[in-house]
């Protein structure tokens, strides 16, 4: 096992103009830690993983595994193992052959190979599939074989590139906990790339949020979720995303549409006010806190909770993540999401009075998007 350090790693792909995938990434993954790299498509997270794997050579910067600088070493000399999104099992080999391949390449004695392959297969519950070929396996089985192939070598670093994205939702949940258990049991330093923030929140010891090749925030899932360092992290983590409204600070009070928040430390000028959908509650449940009036547009009943989308007075602050975010509305209305407990009687077109629980309110600089303070008080 070993710690992994990415020191000012920059990766530029040739082109006109060159495409910068990583812009001086600094990251330290502790020995035995499971670090999640999360970010939208094309943010550079897979490139970072590939730089550690040796599949990409950084344009500049250092990659250190244990006490060795490895950025100039070929993949095979780095003692890393990787699980690919499409599993990349060798189609002409059986499951046994796939698991044994890396050990053979490292000249492990034959009896040891046999023992380790069978132990790993048993641990992953694929010991009955050893004679099958990849084309005869289901998605979940292929996934386990890919994991086994990587772990059987007992590598210093375990790399996973969106390993669950080809599975259906139910299997994904199951494999998520299996990966976590396996990682804990083996205790190998792991780097896990995903664009799914639910995976990031549930799996990682720490999460690194990346956008545009730049590290946005590194912290525990709780830190990243509760104290986002900037508006991008705030908008990216959480489903539905954090509501972000454009506001103005004046003499210690921030105004955004109907919303009034007291924040004495904020200098006068434009700001972004952020609050999560779960911070909203019907006004009668929380008297005296900042309020919003929402004109309900879409109601999604999920059984244990209700997601309500509607317009409020104000202007939405857009953070470029991807096309799935709601586009800013014309004029002086903004789209906001609210997560209400249990079933709700709310219908489309209703005017809903909502209270914003102040402890989860966030303020960001309108120009830079940086967090002004972890929380604002009303």
């Amino acid at each position: 096992m070993a710690q992994v350090i990415l020191d000012k790693v920059r990766k530029e792909f040739p082109g006109k103009p060159p495409m910068v995938a990583l812009e001086g990434l600094d990251l330290t993954i502790a020995d035995g830690e499971l670090l999640i790299l999360v970010g939208p498509s094309g943010c550079g997270k897979t490139t970072a993983l590939r730089c550690v794997a040796g599949l990409e050579q950084p344009t500049s910067g250092r990659v250190v595994i244990g006490d060795r600088e490895v950025q100039d070493l070929p993949s095979r000399k780095r003692d890393v193992a990787m699980v690919f999104q499409n599993y990349a099992l060798y189609p002409h080999l059986t499951v046994y052959g796939n698991l044994a391949f890396g050990l053979k390449e490292h000249h492990v004695p034959k009896p040891d190979i046999d023992r380790r392959v069978r132990e790993m297969a048993k641990m992953l519950g694929i010991d009955r599939l050893l004679d099958r070929r990849p084309a005869q396996l289901s998605g979940g089985q292929s996934q386990r074989v890919a994991m086994g192939r990587a772990l059987v070598r007992e590598p210093q670093v375990f790399l996973l590139d969106e390993p669950l994205s080809n599975l259906d939702a139910k299997l994904r949940g199951q494999m998520r906990s299996e990966i976590l258990q396996m990682q804990r049991r083996v205790g190998v330093t792991s780097l896990y790339v995903t664009h799914d923030q639910a995976e990031a929140m549930t799996l990682g010891d720490r999460i690194a949020v990346i956008n545009g090749g730049v590290l946005q925030q590194l912290g525990t899932p709780e830190e990243v979720f509760r104290r986002p360092r900037n508006a991008f992290v705030a908008a990216f983590m959480g489903t539905p995303s954090m509501n972000l409204l454009r506001g103005t600070a004046e003499d210690g009070t921030v105004s955004a549409g109907d919303l009034r928040v007291t924040a004495a430390w904020v200098a006068n000028g434009p700001v972004i006010v952020g609050f999560r959908p779960e911070s909203l509650a019907p006004a009668e449940e929380a008297p005296g806190v900042p309020r919003l009036e929402m004109v309900v547009d879409v109601v999604e009943e999920l059984g244990n909770e209700t997601l309500v989308y509607g317009d409020v007075a104000g202007e939405i602050a857009t953070v470029t993540i991807d096309a799935t975010l709601p586009a800013p509305l014309e004029g002086s209305r903004a789209r906001v999401a609210a997560r209400l407990k249990g079933f709700s009687e709310v219908r489309r077109g209703d005017r809903l009075q909502l209270a914003v629980r102040d402890e989860s309110m966030h303020l960001f600089d309108a120009a830079t998007g940086e967090a002004l303070a972890a929380r604002a008080r009303s």
Binding site: A53, G54, P74, V80, A88, Y90, P91, G102, E105, Q136
Partner: protein, 305 residues
């Protein structure tokens, strides 16, 4: 590009991955006669007629081949067999036939192995390695496919002469060790293989060459068979290049040797046809054994047989 996908499926099937027969199974062979057979049966007879006539001529006497209109030789079956034995013995003893068989086998075997090895390496490099001028180089190789052999044969002969290879088997082998067709076909197939498989092998500890030999090539049985079979057919049947490059009888290949049976004034047709049948026997045997690969090769390469 759809043919490549077909090949891929067949590769997996041939390797026993899919668990089903990649080509026609017993069900299709037992298909009931349809209207197509009214067309296919006469066409098949038309195709097989020259070969049957070849064998019949090799069972004739010289006099019987000169009759017009042509008739079947007399004395079936005893005289036929006597003529056959006589003509085949004549063909084998009149010329160093055994030597020609050996020469052709050496040339064909070496050319096939060379093509499989070098076309794989070149195809892999053109598909996967990033280097300056890769696309331009590929286009140049493709362009050579469009140049008829007759245009380049004299320059190639001059190069062979310069290298001292004229009238040696090396002249038949070296210029044909790698072909643009093979490079093109394998390069296209390499491009269809997921790059992650190769990356996985490299992370697992294999070198580039190791990855190629242990992971990629075993997944490519169908395109390798295509290149191998087509090279074999072409090399075994080649006549024009040996005609130019080889002068001594000991270095002749079968096809070239056969032409020595054709005289300026008189041609002993029964003996010539006996020799021709003998040159075809190895190819026929290979065809019978590897029939499905042949069909697959021509279907997948888009080249007519």
């Amino acid at each position: 590009m759809s043919y490549v996908a077909v090949e891929r499926a067949d590769t997996l099937g041939a390797a026993g991955v899919s668990g089903t027969a990649p080509l026609q199974g017993p069900e299709t062979r037992r298909r009931r006669p349809s209207g197509w057979h009214l067309l296919l049966v006469p066409v098949a007879l038309l195709m097989i007629f020259p070969f049957v006539w070849l064998i019949i001529t090799s069972a004739s006497t010289l006099a019987e081949t000169r009759v017009f209109p042509p008739t079947l030789p007399a004395g079936f079956p005893v005289t036929w067999i006597q003529n056959l034995v006589h003509n085949y013995r004549e063909a084998w003893t009149q010329a160093p036939f055994g030597r020609w068989v050996l020469n052709t086998t050496i040339v064909t075997f070496t050319v096939v192995i060379g093509n499989l090895a070098f076309c794989s390496l070149a195809g892999y490099a053109l598909a996967r390695l990033r280097f300056f001028g890769r696309t331009a180089l590929f286009l140049v190789i493709l362009a050579t496919l469009m140049v008829p052999f007759q245009v380049v044969m004299i320059p190639v002969l001059l190069i062979c002469k310069y290298l001292g290879m004229v009238d040696t088997l090396a002249a038949l082998v070296v210029p044909n060790l790698v072909t643009p067709f093979g490079i093109f076909l394998l390069r296209q197939f390499f491009k269809t293989l997921p790059v992650e498989i190769e990356e996985a092998a490299r992370i697992d500890g294999a070198t580039r060459l190791g990855t190629l030999v242990k992971v990629l090539l075993p997944s490519m049985a169908a395109p390798l068979a295509t290149v191998g079979i087509m090279t074999m057919l072409w090399s075994w049947n080649d006549f024009l290049w040996p005609l130019i490059a080889i002068t001594s009888q000991d270095n002749m290949t079968l096809q070239l040797g056969l032409s020595s049976f054709v005289g300026s004034h008189v041609t002993n047709w029964p003996v010539l046809m006996a020799g021709t049948v003998m040159t075809q026997i190895p190819m026929l045997l290979i065809f019978l054994v590897a029939q499905r690969w042949f069909v697959q090769s021509f279907a997948s390469s888009g080249v007519k047989g």
